[in-house]
Each structure stands twice: as structure tokens, then as C-alpha cells.
Symmetry: C2
Subunit: 159 residues, 2 copies
């Protein structure tokens, strides 16, 4: 797929800068076992996320990352590289989160985003709504995460 | 709604212990500003999650938690109290994540879960699939999170 390019950096982006069909690469991120265990101890302490020994005889033959950790890692790149740093008005929700392959210690994930559609808000004329599909693949190009995010963004000349 | 009760603790639960229509309270959890900022610095560093001063003149008139932090807090109770500690085979995904109200520092969230449906896997006879709706409300009974989780669970006499 041909990549798109924003005409302005994240601290100058508004709703109007997002266009349906835009495809962006957000960079990549390495995942260590220490990070996987640290996240999971706080939020998702299933044994195959936190216990090296028990995990090795478990369903994945080793530790895998909490799916929510993978979401967080992708979200970090989405916020840093894609989302406006000035016009974001947060999100009402997310849909269709899928973890088709596990993330293992030492994996490097590459994250991309496709803008699915954009529309002005009907009820609030100061903002618009952007729906994006975020995907993360590992170093073997296996998809480890896909999700659909909804973002509220201020319009450039809202006030 | 009348509450349900499992007949066995989490370390003895299998697929067969989950029944459609079951409703469970998982407990409550307090959220501090330090935790909100710490999570968001790592995974969702939008200014209204990490910068007290800038957030106070932002769209929420103060810091609010990343929606993914709220998911993590609810997930922790889901894993500790509801999910089997021996039969969980992880999750293929989640749907319909909604954040209808913000979570603010000092809030106390109460988390509940309803089992939507359960069915044996067609392709893998050793397991079943449980779909659950998780909801979190704040101290004013406002819903701050709802989401639908899918869990794979081993059957009791799988082998």
C-alpha cells in the first residue's frame, strides 16, 4: 500500500488533516520479558503472562504478553505519531480488538494505521469523528493486534 | 439483579462453571492521580492524562484516566475474581469497548460482569468459549467502562 504523509506535525493537526484511506506507518517497538511481566503483574496476572516456569509448560510454551499490553504499546505510537497533540478530545470507544497471534519476549512490533472514515459531529459543530484501524505485526509479519479506534478531534476553525 | 455465586474458587473453575446469565460483582478499586499519570506516561501520553496544569484548562477541566488504564483496572479484578486460574487459555479478542464517562483522580470504581453466552468449541474439543460483558461504575454509579470479552477455557474432563 502506498503510504500517506501528513502536511503538518502532530502539534498542528486538526480534524481536517485526517482523510479516509490514509495509511501511515508509526514505527516499531521491542518488547522485553521484564516489561511483559511488569505490565501483567499489575493488570493481567495470568500465569502465562507472569510466571516463566509455569508458562513454559502452559498453552503457549512460554510467556506471552497480555493483549492489553500490546494495545498499550500500539497506543503509545498512535498517540505520539498519528493523533493530534492539540486537537484530540479523547475517545468514546474502540471495537473489534483481535489478538490473532501471541507476542513473545524479544519480539519487535511494527504498528500501522489506516483512516477508515471521518465525519463532522452532528451534535457538536466544534469537532469531527475519525475512525481508524490500527494493526501491529511482529518481525515475521504475523498480525499480533488489530483494533478499530474512534477519536474526537477539534476542527481547525472551531473557535 | 440477583447475584450469582460460583460453586468453586478460581483455581478449580473450568468451562463448565460458567453459565449464561450469571451476574457477578468483582469488587472495587480506588484510582489515584499518580497511577493515572504513571500509566499514561507509558502508554497514552495525551496532555489531559499526564499534565495537571494543562489538563485543567482542557476539555475535561482536569486530569482523566486513559481509557486503557480503566480497562486494565477492570481486567485485574476480572482475572483475580472471575476467570479460572487453571483453565484459562487466553482470549482471541474484545468488542464494544465504551468509555461513556471519564475516570478522575480519587474515583472508586466498582466492577461487575455478566456472562452473555457459553459454547463448546467446534474445532477444539478440549475447550469452550465464554463471552462476558464487563462494566465499571464510579462512586456516583455512572458507567465509566463497558466491554465485551471473549475467553477460551479448558473443559473439566478434557484429558
Amino acid at each position: 500500500m502506498p503510504l500517506s504523509k501528513f502536511s503538518v506535525p502532530p502539534d498542528q493537526r486538526f480534524f481536517e488533516d485526517y482523510e479516509a484511506g490514509g495509511v501511515y506507518e508509526l514505527g516499531s517497538i521491542a518488547v522485553s520479558e521484564a516489561e511483559i511481566v511488569d505490565f501483567a503483574r499489575r493488570f493481567d496476572p495470568q500465569y502465562f503472562h507472569v510466571d516463566h516456569e509455569q508458562a513454559s509448560s502452559g498453552p503457549f510454551a512460554g510467556i506471552i504478553a497480555s493483549g492489553w499490553h500490546t494495545v498499550g504499546l500500539a497506543m503509545r505510537l498512535f498517540v505520539d505519531q498519528f493523533l493530534s497533540h492539540v486537537a484530540s478530545l479523547a475517545s468514546p470507544g474502540a471495537d473489534e480488538i483481535r489478538w490473532p497471534n501471541p507476542v513473545r519476549p524479544g519480539d519487535t512490533l511494527s504498528v500501522g494505521v489506516t483512516v477508515l472514515d471521518t465525519r463532522p459531529s452532528q451534535s457538536k459543530p466544534d469537532r469531527g469523528i475519525v475512525r481508524s484501524k490500527v494493526e501491529a505485526v511482529n518481525q515475521r509479519q504475523e498480525i499480533v493486534l488489530s483494533m478499530m479506534l474512534v477519536s474526537f478531534l477539534a476542527r481547525r476553525h472551531a473557535g
